[in-house]
Symmetry: D2
């Protein structure tokens, strides 16, 4: 049994994390840290926890948490962990950061895309990028885990085997991604009101979204060459779910079988990755409330395009679920413990 | 470990049941019975089960199931179990019926409101009405369990302590209930298309809905007097959830404290019933995906009205969850086993 | 051709008003007043107006507007007009107030339910309550029109003929109303975020909602006796629409025909009120985007309850549409001018 | 004043058409033709028309309609008009076909993608492809108008100036389109039920959707070269709206200004096409319920991609609205007559 502290427990990713950890057989939640709801009962902030977690939220305090728990999850805005983390903390506690602070290895790229100065660049190299299925061995041994973004988890996992095996032209990649609104968080913005989101779809951050360099860096590692791509996120009127539709031109002579084989090579034993049958494409409802990643593809021989489609639940595999999967790996628990739920279509 | 068979596994309540049973530590699902999808893989009918339950659905066959399993769930249209059940089956298998066939003790009332002839009226008296919190002891000993309806579970539990304690005028009860669309099932009707349900609310079956006599009969048992009431269901554009808003005129001299006490008397030790704080009213999202029942009330002294509001998830406490709660009681498993989930607001 | 100024043009009711007025053949919109978006192009605040109304919003200024236009619409929070209106303005301009400031004749009742001091109580008697179908003649001659609330328009019109004709027990009235989320306005509140509203229904202000005394006062005028009733509003996950389900005990001997006759007596020549056929109940989609009021009823002889159900579009008949209907009456334009749209189900 | 007959009036596109035509100052609707609702009052099929159009629907009969009306709209499944139209009808009546039967000039392509034999291939050359802004002059003189598809209208208009001016590599085009559910029609399919569509996004017909060859053929005409592209449609949980996100590699040296100029060259005087400001991208709510097309673009110099994004209302500009726009052109009415509505965000 380990003790956990959650910083940013009152956001949507935080709530999801608390919900998963509450039912995890090896975890006791010790602290619920918040910036906006200090002193409020957690069940007042989230009525679903009434009679379940009635403890008060406390002010987020990295130092204090580091003394008293075995693992800290930071579900905080960018810059929080980067400016609060000190190296010595890592001798006391393991940290799983759901923000972007330690995801990107090239600090210049981070500072350029995020528009903030990184306060602890020397710690970036200590961090492991927590895409569980790809970096499992490094995750096992790290104290500082950079949990991947939602769009990035979905996009990278969908493209990884194809890029790694060199089956598409690396300069032709287009990612058109669609996300439910929980990804926008619980902050107060007019754009997130029900009457603004409902019955509409909108693209945003076209070519400038911060998940772009994260995807590019990881795919460059896979490819061995520099990958640059265009990434367009869209907001759609639903709670949860991300669909990443990835396009690339196949190299001459590549056939359907090779593509299938590439996916199987990397994923056939992965519990949380499901390679769909030919002609079946992912729908977000099929992975809703679960840690699964569904992947399907279409080789369009008519035009030479390979369409690779992935779906995840942005709050689970795209945030809290993968964070717990990584925690399981880091603490040597069974990897699926506490997150092995059947998806919930309704 | 017991073996279970589900008849009607391919409807929405059936799917929910399969999902709960799949994760239940004491149950093995042996048969998935269907009328419409015979020979189809279950994961083809519900893509969320891909790689999880890839077995084929088989034709629903009560006799065969009765030979091979310990418990049969029938999530079927009205009339199925009534016309297929024979008394001798009950010596071999326990049956939990999610249809209305054995819920109403007065067969004339059943036949009048449902417009079908009951084919096995002699078995009605063998059935126990499975409102777990109210009839727990009888449930423990029955072989034939009539699992309550969704609207009825919510309405009866919300009204029960108040009616039982005689705090309102029994002739003044009004129930205005609102339900998500999964309650309408997966059948093909124009009225259930996305474009017909979305962005609208509609009342239906005003004063004639079949759940009316079920509520009346149970409340009459509680009251000791005949209860007649007006019940108006409404369909709203969401998946899951029922809110039952119940109105009654309080008897002279009844105060807020007495009402609070009445609820506590019956429910204070009930795990799945949460009595909300004063001034807090149920919202369906706070019980979503869970077996909880949230209850709040307002005594309006200005007009003498007591407003009692209850919320459940129609597919869980209103169908599959309560069915499993009843199974747990009938097989002497811990009552919350497999259904003790934190509600999921997103 | 008249000139109009809209104060509060950047809220949802304001936007609807601007949209209707823009297409009204007899109106030129001169000023778009705002509190929050001064100096912003209107088409920046509402992208649908791009290339249509690109004028800047200006600070709301009642005095200035009164000099330059023929009619001012105030779609503002409670208290704005009450504290800014001076009697002499009414000699220069007609005012249609979409707030509650002049709706309630009894200033004590206003101050108690709204919790604010009325700054110009002497003007209340100059105001006409603008329920177009009921007070048409008084509306024609007023300079100060108090445009009814959304819930109140729907509730009063649904109950009016029955109460006026004395067909139900005045002490038995229950109103259970459901509203789309645009009624909550465009203000920034966590409760109005997409992820909070979606997939849930919640009651609020049970027995304390401010529309209660407005309904009671008008029905008391109709009845000749003091009416007190319980009113429960609910928020549902859709944009537009209000359904008001009204319950009352019919007096002895009242039959269906009398009820039908009562509705026909008051409404049979009303263009915007549609009395549905027997057995048909209103659905909000059937009045969406229109100024229609649909009314249906069910006399439940089994219990003596009369269920009266009305539906409107909260932003049209419940706000901007009725405001324009009243403007048409006040300026002697054809009453349906600019608002005679077929409802839009999709 | 002209007389119109609508065949397929009881589908969603048909209903939209009837609603627009009902308010059109120069049109009288003479016949409402249906396959499924013969003899039913139109207001029974669509309750919004209660007290507005209570006439009965009649069996669809092209010959009879051709005798009695000036224009026939066919909002029917593919194959209906192709198998019923005879050349002599075109001397009596103008026909606007909302199906695909006469859209594609190359009959082999039609037969291959639609999988049906074309029964009147000789009439294809008589038809004009009714993309109003592109083919206005030909539309003016035709008797047989092939109204474009919804995805195609949005995709072609978004790409046309760029392809016509040769600014992108013709072999690099990717279209990722998203549509509301009304595009799927009112037919009874499990996949269109509320509980299947809500809270999910799904791609379908990846690389095989029938709108692909229609887009390719029109862009090939524009380009002068054969265009082949990959087209992926997605279904999202909303009523109305299509967003087409189009990607292409810009040719060397092409800059933002050239792209802007290209759009302005073709569209700057087009009433229904709005070229958004730099950095603003279309959202479907901004064109909802209107005939507008909003277009925005992003030149991503980092990767050489041009992202061109268009939004329409699938039922208006994507079906009924453009059909009426074409009717206006064909009958020499003002082109915007009856369809010049401000978009409705709520």
């Amino acid at each position: 049994m380990i003790k956990a502290g959650v910083i940013g427990a009152t956001g949507y990713a935080g709530e999801e994390l608390v919900r998963i950890l509450y039912s995890h057989p090896m975890v006791e939640i010790k602290y619920l840290g918040t910036k906006s709801y200090e002193g409020e009962r957690f069940s007042k902030v989230y009525g679903n926890f009434f009679n379940i977690i009635d403890e008060e939220c406390i002010l987020e305090d990295l130092d204090k948490f580091a003394e008293d728990v075995d693992v800290i999850f930071t579900a905080t805005p960018q810059g929080f962990l980067g400016s609060h983390l000190k190296e010595e903390m890592l001798s006391k506690v393991k940290i799983i950061d759901l923000s972007a602070d330690y995801r990107i290895k090239d600090v210049d790229v981070y500072e350029k895309w995020y528009g903030i100065k990184h306060e602890s660049p020397e710690l970036i190299k200590k961090a492991v990028y927590g895409l569980s299925e790809i970096n499992r061995e490094d995750i096992r041994n790290t104290k500082l885990l950079a949990n991947p973004g939602c769009y990035t988890t979905c996009s990278i996992l969908t493209l990884y085997p194809i890029v790694k095996e060199g089956l598409i032209d690396i300069n032709s990649i287009v990612i058109d991604a669609k996300s439910g609104t929980s990804g926008a968080g619980r902050g107060l913005k007019t754009a997130n009101l029900f009457c603004e989101v409902n019955e509409s779809i909108k693209p945003y951050g076209v070519g400038t979204h911060r998940h772009t360099p994260e995807i590019e860096e990881q795919l460059s590692f896979a490819s061995g060459k520099e990958v640059k791509l265009i990434f367009t996120p869209n907001l759609i009127p639903m709670y949860r779910g991300i669909l990443a539709t990835c396009y690339g031109k196949v190299k001459d002579g590549v056939d359907e079988n090779q593509i299938k084989k590439a996916y199987e090579k990397y994923y056939k034993d992965e519990h949380f990755i499901r390679l769909l049958d030919k002609g079946v494409y992912p729908e977000t409802r099929w992975v809703k409330d679960s840690n699964y990643v569904d992947i399907g593809f279409k080789l369009d021989e008519r035009t030479g395009n390979l369409v690779m489609i992935g779906a995840i639940d942005n709050l689970v595999k795209g945030a809290a679920g993968q964070a717990v999967q990584n925690m399981n790996i880091m603490f040597d628990f069974p990897e699926t413990m506490g997150i092995d739920k059947v998806p919930n279509i309704l």
